[in-house]
Symmetry: C2
């Protein structure tokens, strides 16, 4: 049998800092995969290899053992080592492990060498469209970033203290798999919170903790909709919800929104047999009105009659500047057709990634099973920290402080609008939330307006990006919660300047 000569075994030089064993393993493996050491070839004696490369014989023996365990070599102690004879003959373009970073870069170009591509599925093409900033958000925030709470005002040191205390007090049992439905003490304080602030009759058993409202919509759509089933979307409406419903195969019925929220009668005309309706009843995204009581009752009556599911996404209506927050649609849901979603991403901070659903009793079990299968549960110590933060009253205090602060900023935006935006942007009254729509003159191109604003350092979102079936009114969604009143005024001036130039070509 052929013994691998020294020429067969030209090894690449060992990179600085790489362990001898890892280097030798990578070189021998590459030589075998590339066919320089063919099937059945006999390897040099371990003693010779060791002497030639200035390594200990133990190192060489370790490498041979590893290659034998992985199937590259066969042989018996004392009788020499051979390249496994059943291997294919050197088709593999294998680089040694020492080449890893270079290979990683090279693989960018490897696209062309694939014989058959891995193509996205039809539904995959719908799923691979994110509504979100996948690269994250810059900090601090800028005028007028929509749906953004003020992170400068978050009681950061307090949160860190609670988290650190929780870490020290953490019971070892908190390392084990937790309940898929969520940490029970957290579910209890959330149930109490929505009972008091939203009038929702519920207990901890109806609450499920997840990472985001998107997960609730995604799971609910898959659980209770088959591909091709119709779902009502508010039009204009929240893009994140629409994309995830479409990815789940829903046929979207675009139901118009007016000053009383989603037009339920029109929904019944367009898609009476829809299986699901997605609504932002507390503060319609993006236009702002609360769903009227009459329509709330009509929506529930339709859902009840048809056996349809309503998802109420209550993303920021906690921040209501006059009076208490409105009761949730869910508070009227006696027959159990509404899944209510709340999130701490806007109440506290986005990187927290804890949201929750309040489910009708008979939907809890399938929802939790599906969540357990696909997501398992939210990290337990994160849930425990949030529980302590709520139970100690910090969330309530923070929300009250922010409600006042955001109210002042909403007023500052109104002021700035009066001062700078006449003839450019019309700002309706702001009663709640973190952002507000402002309307451009009829016929203006709001996507263009958002682009020229972005070039001047102003973040907005055009209303056209919320369009579902019908054209949305031309306008921009403006966040006012995450920046100070001076920045609001300065941003409003800048925005006026670029809109003036765009609209009147000055």
């Amino acid at each position: 049998m052929r013994r691998a000569t020294e020429i067969d075994l030209a090894l690449n030089e060992r990179p600085d800092g790489m362990a001898l064993q890892r280097w030798l393993y990578g070189e021998l493996r590459a030589a075998i995969l590339q066919g320089r050491l063919g099937p059945g070839a006999r390897l040099p004696a371990t003693r010779d290899l060791a002497a030639r490369h200035g390594v200990s014989r133990g190192t060489v023996l370790g490498v041979f053992a590893q290659l034998a365990a992985e199937g590259y070599l066969s042989g018996a102690v004392g009788r020499g080592s051979f390249v496994a004879s059943e291997l294919p003959d050197g088709r593999f373009d294998a680089a040694p492990a020492s080449e890893a970073p270079r290979l990683a870069r090279r693989k960018a170009g490897a696209r062309d060498t694939a014989k058959a591509e891995i193509g996205l599925s039809a539904r995959g093409r719908l799923l691979a469209r994110s509504a979100f900033a996948v690269d994250g958000r810059s900090f601090p925030s800028r005028a007028f970033r929509p749906s953004q709470p003020d992170l400068q005002s978050f009681p950061f040191a307090l949160w860190a203290r609670v988290a650190a205390r929780r870490s020290r007090l953490l019971n070892r049992s908190m390392l084990a798999d937790g309940e898929a439905q969520g940490y029970r003490p957290l579910r209890e304080v959330i149930a109490e919170h929505v009972r008091v602030t939203r009038g929702i009759a519920c207990a901890a058993d109806h609450v499920a903790i997840v990472g985001s409202a998107q997960q609730v919509i995604d799971l609910a759509a898959r659980l209770w909709l088959d591909p091709g089933d119709a779902a009502w979307m508010e039009d204009p409406g929240y893009q994140g919800a629409r994309l995830v419903l479409e990815a789940a195969g829903a046929r979207i019925a675009a139901v118009p929104v007016d000053a009383h929220g989603i037009d339920v009668a029109e929904g019944q005309r367009l898609a009476p047999a829809a299986r699901l309706a997605y609504v932002t009843a507390g503060r319609q995204a993006p236009l702002g009105p609360a769903l009227s009581l009459e329509r709330r009752l009509a929506l529930l009556d339709w859902a009840h009659t048809r056996g349809a599911l309503v998802i109420e996404d209550d993303y920021d209506s906690e921040y209501r500047f006059e009076g208490r927050p409105l009761a949730a649609l869910k508070s009227l849901d006696n027959a159990g057709h509404v899944i209510y979603c709340g999130t701490f991403s806007k109440l506290l901070f986005p990187a927290l990634r804890i949201a929750y659903a309040v489910l009708p009793e008979r939907l809890v079990e399938p929802f939790v099973a599906a969540w357990s299968l696909t997501g398992r549960h939210v990290p337990l110590d994160q849930q425990a920290t949030l529980h302590a933060f709520i139970a100690e009253g910090h969330v309530g205090r923070h929300v009250r402080r922010m409600r006042e602060l955001y109210g002042e900023r909403a007023e500052a935006l109104r002021e700035a609008a009066r001062r700078h935006w006449t003839g450019l942007l019309a700002l309706p009254p702001i009663v709640a939330g973190l952002d507000a729509p402002a309307f451009l003159p009829v016929g203006a191109d709001d996507a263009l307006a958002a682009r020229v604003a972005a070039q001047a350092g102003i973040e907005t979102r055009p209303l056209s990006s919320y369009a579902v079936g019908h054209a949305a009114p031309a306008g921009l969604v403006l966040g006012f919660a995450s920046i100070g009143v001076d920045d609001i005024d300065a941003g409003a001036r800048t925005l006026a300047r670029v809109l003036q130039a765009m609209l009147y070509k000055t």
Copy 2:
């Protein structure tokens, strides 16, 4: 217009501890929804209501304002308040908010009153079957809980210290939305980890951080499979993967496993055009063999030729008791057809909920977009803590310590098997992992064996629960990693006793 008399407005007594305003609001709202105060009815004067119920007039005005904001009342200051005339006439079985907890319980029975039920979709029926313990796991662990690391040996105080330090050092920018793909410093140390321990040529750009391997399988199946497309499952194989693939609409091809892992030639015969193959190449779940090198190359060749995707779930092969961990299948994936999944749930602790995928370059963007749309990202401070824990070398040290400890426990299980299980359970050699299969006499009912063992306080998982298409050999999966050697021996004795009784009716 009719003025609501005092008789019309019989209010329930205020529960102890409930705020006056919340009580009065709930009572009036219920009276309207139940029709006791009909559409157009005039409410008592605020002054009279205040006097009658011993509350301030300000409280009554606040309640009227809230009810007006929510659409229950209309009217103008000084001219009285009326129930909104467009409301339906008292069809709603509304309880006041003060009844919330009672209502929550009552709703369990509301199922029968629904006019039309919300039925699970066809795919929902597949999605609502969890493979996991939705109620969490008891602590401490018991003999022989499968796939369970030892939480007693986890350096708990050290983790808490790192987490507390991270909390104190946390930058305020870490409150904002992070990168959907994951915290970059964490992705960098993970890339380094899999380069060194698994021979995978990759960089941080190829790594995506998620909450669990289940999420990787779920997203990959939806992105690259359409409903009805075939997917290879190892048979017997991991139930969690099979259920989530089925829920995504995959047609499962049950490919047999032998001593060399999944039978690739048989897979090619059964479903040559499959779009996806799920493999546990490092340590086949549940039978244990590593996928042979010849089959690894054949699998990659098939995937390359057909444009299929391979998911390599490397759940616990890090714990290899002799020699280094084997290189991953992914280390041979030059053409970019393998998604490698790793998890920290078994390496560190299950409640952590951080896993990762190493993706071929051209699959990164659609995967991250889909993850961003459905899950957004993993909590940022959790990622930062894990990053610090890895970067400071604690993970490496912990894995080395646990490898030794689990090796001793595997040996203790072998010892116990020799002592107690002759004629009852055959235990093949254990080379890696947290659990091992043991085989019952041919023809034995392993599901029954698992049940009788459970009655005696012994946790196992029958091999039949891993069956995909063919009957699995009769046997039990036994975890040895999470309990001490004394408990292993005692558990083995108990298991022998119940199996003896079951098999030989003694």
